[in-house]
Point group: C2
Chain length 222, copies 2
DNA sequence: GGGCGCGTGGTACCGGGGTACTACGGGGGG
DNA sequence: CCCCCCGTAGTACCCCGGTACCACGCGCCC
């Protein structure tokens, strides 16, 4: 039995979801909320397995509410439901920590399957959005995976050189690298020089780009 | 009516899929293949709407076959099906141009729903894999989307300065930027200096990292 | 008209980065 | 045993990048 909290500013919409979830035995609607603030409060109080979250709401919107519920660290998973498949919503929801993103025109079975998946710790994305997400993220998949053959330039690096490349990818200067690795700056320069030669980069800048392209560096959420 | 090509090295597995797809009216199995090479050939010959592709096969594997079918540019969409939810497979399949990735332990309705979605141009990912994909790609979502408030540093840049930042993000030297923008190098240095000051970067290197973090630069598939 | 932001351009200076070359000790394989 | 790779370290040199400061023309708004 999975417990559900329904969040939507439209009473009729809540009623519809409530009816649907009551029609199957495995879900139990434990509460409703009409806006973000109420959602955050009730999620903390009722500790539902799944929060069905609308995006567009007066006051605190669904994204901010999702962020707070996710940040609270409880075991509630948020499934975002919206009428509009705007990329910004999807991006924002994912970043906010949502476990799912479905459109309100989904068929009832899809919604129930989504709730089941989210409750069990998995995640779901509406197929119409998945296509765009895949197209967007495909370039970020490191080339050394996926291309069958690993980039030979990566393989040519020694362990130490790969460490140095990662450090360069973080934007550290030679002096900083020397300090953190407890090395002389000369040694660092030697390593960096060899790395540049091996990967075919003229600058440390192109080494940074290389590192990003090959998954050795990734955006930090500092 | 969506036409389907079944690719799997196990005859019994093909038989099972065939039976399942024959049991519903909206799919029509137009062929089978036992390995990658045959799959590529039959896909070109039969032009199915959807290719049900196994990953592990002797000879040419499903990933390579997917790559070739996708590269051929026909309207066939590939739905990869595998027993193992290894991240490498998922990554490789997405990079190869697959439109979907499901596990063989999926329920029949899920498989059929997946085929429908893929045939209509959407994409599907098994919920168990979606979670890991989301966790992996969330950092790549540019901070200026998703965080509600746009990064004020980005907004402070003029149009020209943003262009310059993008160019810096590509790893171009001041000289190259000057050449491509038809400017003097002095002007470029002035712009770069202002950009660095505005975004709070000490180097052009950290400007490159900033560009990646904020979605102004992304891995190129050169 | 006077200001101001923006894009353009210049000079001068200096420090970090990159290259070339050399060197040496340790570990592993022929 | 000897050699080679690897990691370490140094010196010398040059150039690009970054900073500081100044300058001018254009468009826009008060």
């Amino acid at each position: 039995m999975t417990t559900v909290l329904i969040v939507d500013d439209q009473p009729l919409q809540r009623y519809g979801f409530h009816l649907l979830l009551d029609s199957v035995p495995e879900t139990d609607v434990v509460g409703e909320a009409a806006h973000g603030a109420e959602a955050v409060r009730k999620a903390a109080e009722l500790r539902p397995d799944v929060v069905l979250m609308d995006v567009r709401m007066p006051g605190m919107d669904g994204i901010e509410a999702t962020r707070r519920i996710a940040a609270a660290g409880g075991r509630s998973r948020v499934l975002v439901l919206t009428t509009f498949d705007l990329d910004e919503y999807v991006h924002a929801a994912i970043r906010a920590g949502a476990s799912g993103f479905l459109l309100k025109d989904a068929r009832p079975e899809e919604l129930l399957a989504g709730i089941r998946a989210v409750a069990s710790g998995d995640a779901v994305i509406a197929p119409a959005l998945t296509r765009r997400l895949l197209d967007e993220f495909a370039p970020y998949i490191p080339a050394h995976r996926g291309d069958g053959a690993e980039d030979p330039r990566l393989g040519s690096l020694t362990d130490r050189e790969r460490e140095i490349l990662v450090a360069v990818g973080k934007g550290w200067t030679n002096g900083e690298i020397a300090a953190r690795f407890v090395l002389s700056e000369s040694t660092v320069k030697t390593h960096v020089g060899r790395v540049l030669a091996k990967i075919g980069a003229r600058d440390r800048i192109q080494a940074v780009i290389f590192a990003y392209d090959h998954g050795l560096a990734r955006p930090s959420t500092d």
